[in-house]
Amino acid sequence: MTATAAERGSAPAATDARGRHRVVVTGLGVQTPAGCDLDTFAETAWSGRSVARTVTRFDPARLSSRIACELPGFDPIRYVGAKAARRMDRFAQYAVAAALDALGDAGEVPGSADRCAVVCGVGMGGHQTFYEQSVLSASPEGMGKVSPLLVPMIIPNSASALIAMELGWNGPALAVAAACASGTTAVGEAARLIRCGEADTVLAGGCDNGVTLLSMAAFCKLGALSRRNEEPSTASRPFDRTRDGYVMGEGAAFLVLERLDLALARGARVYGEVLGYAHNNDAHHITAPLPDGSRAAQCMRRAMADAGMTPADVGSVNAHGTSTPANDAMEARALHLVFGERTPPVTAPKSVFGHLMGGAGAAEAVVAALTVARGSVPPSANFSEGDPGTSLDVVVERPRQLGARPVLSNSFGLGGHNACLVLGPVAGAGAAGLSSC
């Protein structure tokens, strides 16, 4: 059990060195291929074994990549009524479910309804609904068949709006679109809402349903997906020199962020603190990252500066690590620019549960929060040897026990969107820390 600050008689400062409210993570919810409850998710993530399989949701025979990390047995009716579920695209169903689970994990959160907010990262939104409706109405006469539900189901803000509706929360409800960096950006922007005093509690997360025929066909055309169809569980191999692309994933993850002093006052269980956040843009290319990694490195440095930290303070890196040749080469360069030849331990959760697109940064922020709380870095799957000239300390085979140390969590999205978070143990909370999970 976690001791409250009052019980220990020494409450951490409510504000940081810049006078901003401090922000802690008090709840986690996941609907991911690695598990739809926190225990299963953690067990899978820390196993270092990929859950990628041949696609079952549709016939992938005509695709160059026929493997994915699917979310098994998802039932939205467990979370919302049948009528509400019928009005949601699958990406929003995932989001609502993960958000409600996160809130359930957090318990009674502080703040009146108008001090509670939602920030949800979304990559592609309701593209499957758009696709189905387009097929249905693919002629001038067919326009009469367009559903009145089309717009409410495809708008990317539907996930955050539906979560706010479900909870009766009247604070800001934002959608963040930064492609694969959406989830990380959402968590960072949510922390800012609390830091600046606009909200007391924020549900922050991300979602997408990338395992659709249309989405996978499109990413195949971009050359982004692995073609190791005969060996799905070893297909995603971030930073390994033999990598050939990522494995598509789907799902959602949410974190409950609270103002530190309010969380402590209610005796909340705390996973860790959001210590730093930064985002910037490559201003380079709509799909390719800036090869030299300079902007990604700048983003990491800014996140550390926001946390009042130096590279030496970082315990481990939760890498974007997609397993594409271009991303991982860029990210490895950026990590070496920031940390020099010897990097902190690096792990890449996409090696285990695939690329959740708009949900990726959020699911990986959950991994980061658990890394802090457990004092253990999960292993990356399928890494043997990095690119020539790189020397990343990739964690393989088994978890690395580090104790509660700050984690730098990276996300880099199509369009050159870079976002980095620093999550760490609650500073000033004493040697035992406040974390428990």
């Binding site: 009524g81 049948a82 009528k83 019928r86 009005r87 009469g144 068949k145 559903s147 009145p148 539900l149 409410p152």
Partner: protein
């Protein structure tokens, strides 16, 4: 009230078989769109207050009825209350194909 009186007058022209067939189709549509159980759909139940229909539901109900040759006017949507009201509107629609 005026509208309801007009509807009542039309009711008498439909045969019992037509009314039964129409109700069966409306029940099916309501079950599908409003996500309710078949037994909840009775002639007397209010679409809004009893079955929870909102503006999006009415847009979908209108589309579903168009497949049966019935075009709901805005006035129809505004004035309709119960399933029976909707049935009466369908039964007096000139192009209806529901009971053929």
């Amino acid at each position: 009230m005026k509208h309801k009186a007009a509807v009542t007058q039309q009711e008498s022209t439909a045969t019992e078989a037509e009314r039964e067939a129409t109700f069966g189709i409306l029940r099916e549509i309501c079950v599908s769109i409003l996500t309710v159980r078949p037994e909840e759909v009775t002639p007397e139940v209010s679409l809004r207050d009893g079955l929870g229909a909102d503006s999006l539901d009415f847009a979908e109900l209108s589309m579903a009825l168009e497949d049966h040759g019935v075009v709901l006017s805005e006035e129809d949507v505004r004035s309709v209350d119960t399933v029976a009201d909707l049935m009466d509107i369908v039964l007096r629609a000139p192009g209806r194909k529901v009971s053929a």
